[in-house]
């Protein structure tokens, strides 16, 4: 019999989920597009090279048409993926960085540490993220890092709760008691047993924080307090596109579709990961 790690079974389950597999492929294509944007676009996102053809509809020359300022719209959409994905991944990374230690501490020590962390989470649960984000965004005049920060500020809660729940469940397990009986320190137990066993919720929390951050960015940009122009943000483009909706549908439809596809693919990928990883610890 071949040795099979828990990860192997998770992969088997994931691979059986066709929707998640397709979503993962789409996400991969989007990431590649974002990374190699200069190679697949004809101009930069700022270049107003086609002022004469402003508002041009999609054609073989301009796949997604030309926008109101004479910029190739396909280039803008592709560069928009860069902005969206960068914000999504950075914010998710920060969420995990905040969420893991807080969740692990709250789950392991319970008592007042847990109480304090839970009250902190309650704070974030009574303030709607979007409103707070709008307020913060307005107060700080938006910008890339502000948005990442805001997204992480509200994204860590989910990661923290997931890690806390997992740590709480595993800390009662007998292998943790056995390690304690061996004289292992709490830091050792958290690092070596509890966090590795919480890796599934951490991965899932990370992936599911990405679409939330992307939506937050798009929403803020849509309202004009997100990433400032000329940085190409899909939310911003949708906002602009709305003004020309009656005459130039492409300016609204393409960024809308790009945002929807990206968010949907990431969410489905994350859902698939969750379904695959959740039972993996039971092994069978």
């Amino acid at each position: 019999m071949k040795t099979r790690s828990p990860a192997y079974f998770a992969w088997r389950r994931f691979a059986a989920n066709k929707g998640a597999l397709v979503a993962g492929a789409v996400l991969l294509v989007l990431i590649l597009m974002a990374v190699f944007a200069p190679l697949i676009t004809k101009t930069g996102y700022e270049a107003q090279d086609f002022l004469v053809q402003s508002y041009a509809f999609p054609s073989t020359e301009f796949w997604f048409g030309v926008d109101d300022l004479g910029r190739d719209f396909f280039s803008r959409i592709v560069y928009g993926a860069r902005v969206s994905l960068t914000i999504g991944f950075t914010a998710a990374a920060f969420s995990v960085l905040i969420g893991i230690p807080l969740g692990a501490l709250a789950g392991y020590y319970e008592g007042w540490v847990d109480w304090a962390v839970m009250r902190l989470i309650e704070l974030f649960s009574v303030v709607p993220p979007l409103l707070a984000a709008m307020l913060l965004g307005a107060l700080t005049n938006g910008g890339f890092f502000t948005i990442v920060l805001i997204a992480a500020l509200f994204g860590w809660v989910q990661v923290c709760l997931l890690v806390r729940g997992q740590v709480k469940a595993f800390k009662e397990k007998e292998f943790v008691r056995a390690a304690q009986a061996l004289g292992a320190s709490p830091a050792y137990i958290i690092r070596r047993h509890l966090i590795p066993n919480a890796i599934s919720p951490i991965i899932v929390g990370f992936v599911l924080a990405i679409p939330l951050a992307m939506m937050l960015e798009a929403s803020l940009s849509f309202l004009g307090i997100g990433v400032p122009p000329p940085v190409p943000s899909w939310g911003q483009m949708i906002n602009t596109g709305m003004n020309f909706m009656y005459f130039y549908w492409h300016l609204a439809v393409f960024p809308t579709a790009a945002l929807a596809i990206t968010v949907l693919a990431t969410t489905l990928f994350g859902d698939g990961l969750r379904d695959a990883l959740d039972p993996s610890l039971k092994g069978r």
Binding site: F9, R12, R13, A16, R284
Partner: protein, 320 residues
């Protein structure tokens, strides 16, 4: 009268990792008023057999096939929704292993017994409640009125198991399936519950199927024993004969390895090896990798489960 008649029952579960054959060609029967013990370890297919007899497995992932699967004269495999519901509880009732999770936490014990009575018989609520209270008293619950109005979380495991027995008996079933009814309970409570089930069976003239991993429970309660291993029947016969002179090497080894038979600290007779993995069972007889007297053909083809002497069946090449 034949209450349960199962011929060549196969139950498999379709899973990601492949098809798991939980029960492979089981044949068993139960007559009115008779008690049968099904003994086997975890994964032997003993519980699945009972669940399949009442069609309580979720299909899919479960797949049930049999040449015959009759309960109280009704073809269970052909029965649909309403017919099944009429069968369950009325013809055959079941007691489960973990009484703590067997009751709906949102309703009182009384409510759950009353609804069982009303599901099968047109009975006024007050009448059903009175019957429920009498049943609780019959299962030796002193404070029957109080338990009637209690929620499951307010009662101890032993008390809940008594209440579950009362609920199972509420429609005077002809067959009672008891699936490891004492495993989750403490030793002294176990003995009380076993004695109670035995008494009630005799009193009501029910058929009883006692599913257990514990040979002691079998020795205490039933007339006839069926030993299962790796999804197959190994041996079947009257309880006293099985204990005195087991036929199948598995039964022999199992009886020999029971701890505490004699005084003094000592090494026990052990069965080498591990129980078969249901996802990947050994070819041939499931016991052959651990069997002390296995022959070449044991690993090739499974022996048929056939009569050895009157009233005793076994599946072993050495006995054919």
């Amino acid at each position: 009268m034949r209450l349960l008649d199962v011929v060549n029952l196969t139950v498999s579960f379709v899973q990601h990792e492949g098809v798991v054959q939980a029960v492979r060609g089981m044949t068993l029967h139960l007559d009115a008023g008779e008690s049968l013990g099904i003994v086997g370890e975890s994964g032997s297919g003993k519980s699945v057999t009972c669940m399949a007899a009442l069609r309580l497995l979720r299909e899919p992932p479960a797949k049930i096939a049999a040449d015959r699967l009759d309960l109280g004269g009704v073809d269970v495999l052909a029965a649909r929704g309403r017919d099944l519901a009429a069968l369950r509880g009325r013809v055959a009732a079941m007691i489960f292993q973990d009484p703590m999770t067997a009751f709906d936490p949102s309703f009182t014990i009384g409510h759950q017994i009353v609804e069982t009575i009303q599901a099968h018989r047109a009975t006024a609520k007050a009448q059903a409640r009175a019957e429920a209270e009498a049943l609780l008293r019959r299962v030796e619950i002193k404070n029957a009125g109080g338990v009637l109005d209690a929620y499951p979380h307010q009662l101890s495991g032993g008390m809940l198991q008594r209440a579950m027995i009362a609920m199972a008996l509420s429609c005077q079933p002809q067959v009672l399936f008891a699936d490891e009814p004492t495993t989750a309970l403490d030793v002294t409570i176990q003995a009380q519950i076993l004695q109670l089930i035995k008494e009630l069976q005799a009193e009501m003239g029910m058929g009883l199927i006692m599913v257990t991993h514990d040979l002691g429970v079998v020795a205490e309660t039933v007339d006839r024993v069926l030993v299962m291993y790796g999804g197959r029947a190994m041996e079947q016969g009257p309880v006293q004969k099985i204990f005195d002179a087991p036929l199948h090497p598995y039964t022999q080894a199992l009886l020999a390895s029971i701890p505490g038979r004699v005084a003094g600290r000592q090494r026990l007779v052990e069965i080498a090896g591990a129980s078969p993995n249901p996802a990947n069972p050994p070819k041939g007889c499931p016991f052959h990798p651990r069997c002390a007297v296995a022959e070449a053909r044991c690993g090739v083809e499974a022996p048929a489960f056939q009569t050895v002497t009157a009233g005793r069946d076994a599946a072993c090449w050495r006995l054919q």
